[in-house]
């Protein structure tokens, strides 16, 4: 299909504001009489607040109000509370004070006297699973995502059955199996049985989760740092205690989220509650340290994977057990995603998955770019190398042999895919990287430096369906595309809106995107998370635009004779196909739509749309030609986001430091909607992967539960100097049959394949040392080079 807009670069409408400093993020708003909020956070990893005396604080000049857990809606555990009298991690907010300056609010916190009753706490999930081990929640130690907590303890016998440095395995929370796994292992030419750890690490968005709120005429105006828009409005309304229509979310820009701001988070509503109580606008500026305490991080894994290969390298059996270090809240189901990802990316003929998410007295965890899938990539890719090396098979060949295609089924339910071109992506990358030549360089010495060559692959689901598209052609002919997806910074809110221009055959200059503020009448859209936007939003915009197009054709037929089929759209007009000189401009058609009323101007609408979309259509009714429809386009199978990375490093055997000399990232994401945006994702995902592989992890003091990394220099996001100065990108650009423009999502796996490719390259440079631990930090490399034992125990988490 030839496109006018899809697949072309353009200048997204928000980029100028970003380079001029005019882009307003949550902490950039001001209001008359604005107060400043500071939070008093728990100094203990687990405690009960027995008594709280803020009387001295409230006497201070400039202190205006206090908010405690008793003033805000109770969100039942294991979900995150707004404020709490049962703090479950160091940094859990107990109360908030509002004052005329931050300094006064901070000083006032020092005058609050709190009596804590310390409770036993747990950092290592295995400690909680041990008989009699501490539970984070009153209702148990296993906290299900958006669900309840339950108690699962393993028996002392379960623990005793595990050998030293082997994962004990008791009752899981979830499990599935397909095929005959035990027979597979019996027939395997090679069986790897490996214990692994993947450390959790913070999201580290550049913008901390500051929030600002005020009330006017019964409505709550909330400025939050949010990846998503409409999708988060109902939850924010619930946390604020108002009806959905009374919550105005303003979130035009979001300074990075990576999953941590994808859905509504309760603490963002603290300024709203405070503002309601004291009657003044409230700003809650979250500091970097606070962001590490109460922000979000990726779940950590302790696990075991057993893999059975045929002589050729085909994976015939796999058995995965994941214990998830889930933080003090209901953790995202990374542990389950990992099982699904193993099944999809490596297509084992038989597989068993078991997993259990354990709550720990550590800061809340949340979905982070490739939640579960990317940890799995870091576990599996080095083991694919190990298998290839043991069996004498090429490392690329073993991956191709096991890679999925469009007919692959996966997981316990044997789900299907819409299409999959991972092999093509791998070949594209191998060609760009020149794999055949590069692999010969593996192990080459140059003074104290040795070359390592690595390859990685990863997956994430890449789209959803069933949301609403909405646009309005105004009487001046401008096409206003309403999008409620949010603005994470990927520009996909804009590139997917271009589908509307594509369908309507109009120029992009004639289009205006309406977004970022609930008052702009936004439709019900999925959030900007889960690599879904390119797929989901092209579908919803297609639905809305097709509805508008039909109305244009019908109006033209009404006014100029014939039937709708006799007309088409192009050049900002609807015209008679046999004689294009017979036409209506969009402006004329929109004016006719207003005269006609009914469905044409939004007075009537499809019943199957979400109530939020309907309210928006109602508000716009009579102001132009309204295109509004739910995405009912057929779908079949899961649209996957698939990616590969190739990396060449030079590792200094004297210092353990390495430099990444070459990076090639390739994506299989269907039709490329926006090349520049995609290239940003491939490179940016690569940068985050470099951090995940070698730099980032959370460290806690096991004696006191204190997090040790509460600044960038301790938590180590990669800088310019940690990444290659140039990063090459490639893509398959093969359309997905279930999307009207062929698009699929991509953002998340790009991090996992880069992380795993770097680990693979490090192992390669070391001549085949497989750490089974992510990140691989320099002391691990030095110990490996010196043939010394590592400084950690195999299953040790979060304290090295």
């Amino acid at each position: 299909m030839a496109f006018k807009h899809i697949g072309k670069n353009f200048t997204p409408p928000d980029v100028r504001a970003k380079v001029t400093g005019k882009a307003k993020y949550a902490e950039d708003f001001r209001a008359e009489g604005m107060l400043f909020i500071k939070l008093l956070a728990s100094p203990m990893p687990h405690a009960i607040v027995r008594n709280l005396d803020a009387s001295e604080a409230l006497k201070m000049d400039g202190v205006v109000g206090i908010l405690t857990a008793d003033d805000v809606p109770n969100i039942p555990e294991p979900q995150m509370p707004i404020l709490t009298n049962h703090p479950k991690y160091v940094g859990d907010p107990i109360l908030a004070i509002a004052a005329t300056s931050e300094q006064i609010a901070s000083d006032a916190l020092e005058k609050v006297v709190i009596e804590y009753e310390p409770r036993p706490f747990v950092i290592d999930p295995l400690v909680s699973l041990f008989p009699g081990g501490p539970d984070v929640h009153d209702s148990g130690n296993v906290a299900l995502f958006r669900g309840k907590a339950e108690t699962i303890k393993w028996t002392a016998r379960d623990f005793a059955a595990a050998a030293e440095n082997e994962l004990p395995r008791g009752k899981p929370q979830g499990e599935w199996e397909h095929g005959d796994v035990d027979e597979g292992f019996a027939n395997a030419a090679l069986v790897l049985d490996e214990t692994f750890v993947v450390a959790g690490h913070p999201h580290q968005s550049m913008e901390p989760r500051s929030a600002f709120a005020y009330w006017e005429n019964g409505k709550c105006y909330l400025h939050a740092s949010s990846q998503s828009h409409t999708f988060n409005v109902p939850d924010y309304a619930k946390y604020c205690g108002v009806e959905t229509e009374d919550l105005i979310l303003i979130a035009e820009f979001c300074g990075g989220g990576f999953g941590s701001k994808g859905t509504a988070y309760p603490i963002a509503t603290i300024p709203a509650h405070m503002s309601k109580k004291v009657g003044r606008p409230c700003m809650m500026r979250i500091t970097r340290a606070e962001e590490y305490f109460l922000g979000s991080r990726r779940n950590g894994f302790q696990g075991n994977v057993k893999l059975g290969f045929s002589e050729e390298g085909r994976l015939i059996a796999a058995d995965l057990y994941v214990v998830q270090q889930g933080g003090a809240n209901d953790s995202f189901p990374d542990y389950a995603n990992a099982g699904e990802a193993l099944s999809l990316v490596y297509t084992p003929e038989a597989m068993r998955w078991k997993g259990i998410p354990i709550a720990t007295n550590t800061p809340p965890t949340g979905a982070q770019r490739g939640p579960g899938q990317n940890q799995l990539a870091c576990v599996m890719e080095p083991l694919m190398d190990k298998a290839a090396k043991t069996l004498g098979v090429d490392r690329l060949a073993i991956r191709e042999l096991n890679a999925p295609d469009s007919n692959t089924t996966f997981g316990g339910r044997r789900s299907t895919l819409s299409s999959a071109y991972l092999k093509e992506a791998m070949r594209n990358g191998a060609e760009r990287f020149n794999w055949e030549e590069k692999k010969k360089q593996s192990g080459q010495r140059n003074g104290s430096k040795v070359v390592g060559i690595g390859v990685g692959q990863a997956f994430h689901p890449g789209g959803s369906s069933g949301f609403d598209g909405l646009l309005r052609i105004a009487p001046d002919g401008k096409v206003h595309i309403h999008t409620g997806v949010g603005n994470l910074g990927t520009y996909s809110y804009a590139s997917t809106s271009r589908v509307s221009a594509e369908v309507l055959g109009c120029s992009w200059e004639n289009c205006v995107i309406e977004r970022g503020d609930s008052r702009r009448h936004l439709p019900w859209n999925l959030g900007q998370f889960g690599s879904n936007t390119s797929y989901t939003m092209t579908r919803t915009n297609y639905a809305g635009a097709m509805d508008a197009k039909m109305k244009l054709l019908e109006i033209a037929a009404m006014d100029m004779g014939g039937t709708a089929d006799d007309y088409d759209v192009g050049d900002d007009k609807v015209f008679f196909k046999a004689d294009p000189s017979k036409n209506l401009t969009f402006a004329q058609a929109a004016q006719r739509a207003i005269e006609l009323g009914g469905k044409y101007s939004g007075e009537e609408m499809n019943e199957d749309m979400h109530s939020i979309t309907k309210a928006s259509v109602k508000a716009l009714a009579g102001t132009g030609l309204i295109g509004a429809a739910k995405d009912n386009h057929p779908s079949k199978g899961l649209p996957p986001a698939l990616a590969t990375t190739f990396i060449k490093i030079e590792l200094d055997v004297e210092t353990g430091k390495y430099e990444i000399l070459e990076y090639v990232g390739t994506a299989d994401c269907g039709t490329v909607v926006h090349p520049q945006g995609l290239e940003h994702q491939i490179r940016g995902g690569g940068v985050m992967g470099i951090g995940m592989a070698g730099l980032e992890r959370i460290v806690y003091d096991p004696q006191n539960g204190l997090p040790a990394n509460i600044g960038f220099h301790q938590a180590k996001p990669p800088s310019y100097l940690d990444v290659p100065p140039e990063m090459d990108v490639g893509y398959v650009d093969k359309p997905d049959p279930t999307n009207p423009v062929g698009a699929r999502g991509i953002g998340e796996p790009l991090m996992g394949c880069a992380a795993s490719a770097l680990i693979s390259a490090i192992s390669d440079a070391l001549g085949g040392v497989y750490f089974n631990r992510t990140p691989v930090v320099p002391d691990m490399i030095i110990n490996a080079l010196a043939d010394r034992p590592q400084s950690y125990k195999t299953l040790q988490v979060s304290n090295q």
Binding site: P12, V15, K18, V19, T20, G21, Y25, E27, D28, R30, G33, F36, P43, D61, G62, G91, T100, S101, Q103, I104, S106, D107, L109, E110, V112, V113, I114, S205, M206, E207, F253, C254, G255, G256, R285, R288, A289, G489, E679, H680, R683, G684, V687, M688, L695, N704, P707, A708, N709, F712, H713, Q714, P717, P718, S719, Y720, L721, D722, P725, P778
Partner: protein, 220 residues
């Protein structure tokens, strides 16, 4: 040397100390230090008491501090403003002068999001006392655009190359790029990389920012 544009501690080492350390694991000593730091503050009852000032819309001074009226030269204009002794330039700009383009992301000189120019040299405004810039020319992101809307070549190149992703670190990246080109109008890519090395970007847009700087150098 491009790095000389950074007049903070980072400049002398050729690489910001944060990243020297970033290559290493948390050493026992660093770990203990950080625990002690956290623990010490924790014992006061609230662990997040970072010393802040200046972000008041109200004349109530914090105990023991008095605001003084000073004239600052911001983006070529004289701006009278009441300043506390311990007030940082970032806070003055953001909360007293309405210049919110300068971002606070770490508030301790680790990330460069708050980069401004003082007499054409990059400074982390979160770690610069406002009183220290009296009589000096401060340029912020808002001061680059010409009155007719013409952007600085670095800004324009960032649009053409689609430099930013989320945009939060962008003003700092732009300011470091502007300072670099003032000092070295034709940097090599490696010099540009060194020149911007004090500016973190979590989206990982580094390659795109470098492309933008190189384009700006070509056209200006």
């Amino acid at each position: 040397m491009a790095n000389d544009t950074h007049q903070d501690a980072n400049a002398n080492t050729g690489q910001p100390p944060v990243f020297e350390e970033a290559r290493d694991p948390v050493t026992r000593r660093a770990f203990i230090k950080s625990v002690i730091a956290t623990g010490a503050v924790a014992s006061t009852g609230g662990i997040m008491l970072v010393s802040l000032s200046g972000c008041s819309d109200d004349a109530t001074p914090a105990a023991g501090s008095v605001e003084r009226l000073v004239n600052l030269n911001i983006n070529g204009k004289s701006r009278p403003v009441d300043v506390l002794p311990n007030e940082t330039l970032a806070m003055t700009l953001r909360y007293k002068l309405g210049l919110t383009g300068t971002k606070l992301a770490c508030d301790r000189g680790e990330c460069g999001a708050c980069t401004v120019l003082v007499d054409d040299v990059t400074h982390n405004s979160c770690s610069t006392l406002t009183h220290s810039v009296r009589g000096r020319a401060v340029t912020t992101i808002e001061g680059l655009e010409q009155p007719d809307g013409t952007l600085h070549p670095v800004q324009q190149a960032m649009i053409d190359e689609l430099g930013p992703q989320c945009g939060f670190c962008t003003p700092g990246q732009v300011m470091s790029g502007v300072a670099l080109l003032k000092n070295n109008p034709n940097p090599s890519r490696e010099e540009a990389r060194q020149g911007l090395a004090g500016n973190l970007c979590r989206c990982g847009a580094y390659d795109h920012y470098l492309n933008s700087i190189m384009r700006a150098a070509r056209v200006s």
